[in-house]
Symmetry: D3
Subunit: 114 residues, 6 copies
C-alpha cells in the first residue's frame, strides 16, 4: 500500500489502542457501536462506507475522510464510485469542503493507482 495510507493506518491503530485501554467503558462501547454500524445488514458494507465518506466530507474531518476512502478501496469500490460520493459531499457541503476535497482526491489517486 502507498506510504501515506500506511502511515495513517499505523498512527490510527496506536492511538485507538490507547483509548481502548484507557479504562473508559464509554469509549469502548462507542467504538464497538461505531464498528457495528458499518457491518453488513439490510445494506451492504460498500454502501455504508460510501455514506460514511459522504458524511465525513460534509463535516469536513480529514482523518475520517481518509479512513473511509481507504475502507471504500478495500471493499473494492472503483475510483469512479468513490468520486461520486465526493461529489455528493461537495454539493451538500459547499465550497468550504474544497480544501478537504483536494486532500481527499489526492489520497484517492494514490490508493487507486496501486
Amino acid at each position: 500500500m502507498a506510504g501515506r495510507a500506511e502511515q495513517f493506518r499505523k498512527d490510527r491503530e496506536v492511538l485507538n489502542e490507547k483509548i481502548l485501554s484507557s479504562g473508559s467503558k464509554t469509549f469502548q462501547r462507542f467504538f464497538a457501536l461505531d464498528t457495528a454500524a458499518y457491518r453488513a445488514g439490510a445494506l451492504p458494507v460498500k454502501t455504508k462506507e460510501l455514506m460514511g465518506l459522504a458524511a465525513s466530507m460534509v463535516l469536513r474531518c480529514d482523518d475520517c475522510i481518509s479512513y473511509h476512502i481507504l475502507r471504500c478501496a478495500e471493499e473494492g469500490l472503483a475510483k469512479a464510485e468513490i468520486m461520486e460520493a465526493m461529489e455528493i459531499g461537495l454539493v451538500v457541503g459547499g465550497s468550504i469542503v474544497i480544501p478537504h476535497l483536494r486532500r481527499a482526491y489526492s489520497l484517492l489517486e494514490e490508493v487507486t493507482a496501486e
Copy 2:
C-alpha cells in the same frame, strides 16, 4: 401519500419556483448541479439518496432529511435500508442528532405505512 409528506412537497415546490424565477444565475446553476449530482452514474440513484440522507442527518437539517427520506422511499428502498442510513447518521453525528432522528423516524413510519 401521507399528509405531512404531501404538504412538505408542495411548500418546497412553491418556494423553489420563487428562487428559480428570481433571476439569479447562481441559484439556477446551483439547483441544476444539485439535481445532477443525484442522477445515476457509476453509483445508482438509491445509493446517492442514502448518502444524501446520511449527510443531511449529520448536518442536522430537518427539511433535507425529510426530502431524502421521501426520495429514498420513492426509489423503492425498504424501511430497514433507510433505517441503516439513519444509524450511520446517528453514530457519526452523535446524540445531538437525536431530536432530528425522532422526527425522521416518525416520517419514515408514515411514509412506509402507506
Copy 3:
C-alpha cells in the same frame, strides 16, 4: 411543572418510545450509551448536565438545550449556575447562539419560577 416544559417532555417520550421499539439495535445501544454517559462517575450528575447544556448550546440544538435545562433544574442546580453554563455556551459559540439563548433563557425563567 410549567406547560411548555411538560409538553416538551411528553412529545420526547412518545418519539423516543417509537425509536426504541423500531427494532434497530444501533438506536437502542446508542440511547443506552447516551444515558450512561450522564450517570454519576468521577464527576457528579450536576456537572455532567452542565456540560451537556454547554455542548448543546454551541451546537445550537433547541431540543437538546431544553432537555438539559430541565435536567439541570431537576438536579437542583440554581438559576445562576445554569446561566453560567449558558454564558460559556454564548462565548464559545458566538452571536449565532443568541436566538437559541433567547429561547433557552425564556425556558429557564419558566422552569425556575415554579
Copy 4:
C-alpha cells in the same frame, strides 16, 4: 412594514430585553460587543450587514438570516445586492443551505416589495 418582519422584530425585542435584564454581565457585554462590531469603521455598515448575512447563511440560522435581511434593507441595500450575499452563502455553505435560502428569499421578497 410587512407582517412577518414586524412580528419577528417584536418577539426579538421582548426576549432580548429579558436577557439584558437577567443580571448576567457576560450576556450584557456580549450583546454590546455584537452591536459594536456592526458599526461603521474602516468598512461601512452596509458591508458589515452583508457579511453578517453571508455568515448567518453558512451557519444556517434562520433568525440570524432574517435579522440581517431586515438590517440590509433598512440600510438601503437593493434586492439584487442582498441576493448576491445569499449567492455567496449558498455556494460556500452548499445545498444544505437551500431550505434556509427558501425562507430567506421569501422574506427578502416581502421586505423589498414594500
Copy 5:
C-alpha cells in the same frame, strides 16, 4: 510575495488542477460556479471577498480563510478593512474561532507588510 502565501498558492493550484482534470463534471461545474459567485455584479469584488472571508472564519476553515485574505489584499483592501471582516467572524462564530484568528491575523500581517 511572502513565502507562506506563495507556498499556499502553489499547493492550491497543483491540487485544483488534479481535481479539474479528474473527469468529474460535478467538480468542474462546482468550481466554475464558485469562481462566478465572486465576480463583480450588483456588489463589487471587494465586498464579495470580505463576505467570503467572514463566512470562512465562522466555518473555521484555515485554507479558505487564507485564500480570502490573499484575495482581499490583491483587491487592494486595507489591513483595517480586512481586520473588520475578522471582527465580524469572531463575534458571530465565538471563541472557537480564536485559533483560526491567530493564524489569520499572522498571515494578514505578513501579507500587508510587503
Copy 6:
C-alpha cells in the same frame, strides 16, 4: 511540563500578543469577555473548564481542546474527571469527534503523567 504542552502554550502566547496589540477594540474586548466567562462565579473554575472542554470537543477544535485540557489539569482535576468530559464530548458529538479524541487523550496522558 511536557514538551508538547509547553510548545503549545508558547505559540499561543506569541500569537495572542499580536492580536491584542493589533489595535482592534473588538479583539481586545472579546478576549477579555472570554477570560471573564471562565472566572469563578456561581460555578467554580473547575466546572467551567470542564464545560469549555466538552464544548470544544463537540465543535472539534484541537487547539481549544488542548487549551482546556491543560487548564483542567492546572486546576487540579483528576485524569478520570477530565476523561468524563471527553466521554460527554464523544457521545454528544459522535464518531466524527474520534480523531480529536485520539489527540486529546494522548495529550491528557502526557499532562497527567508528570
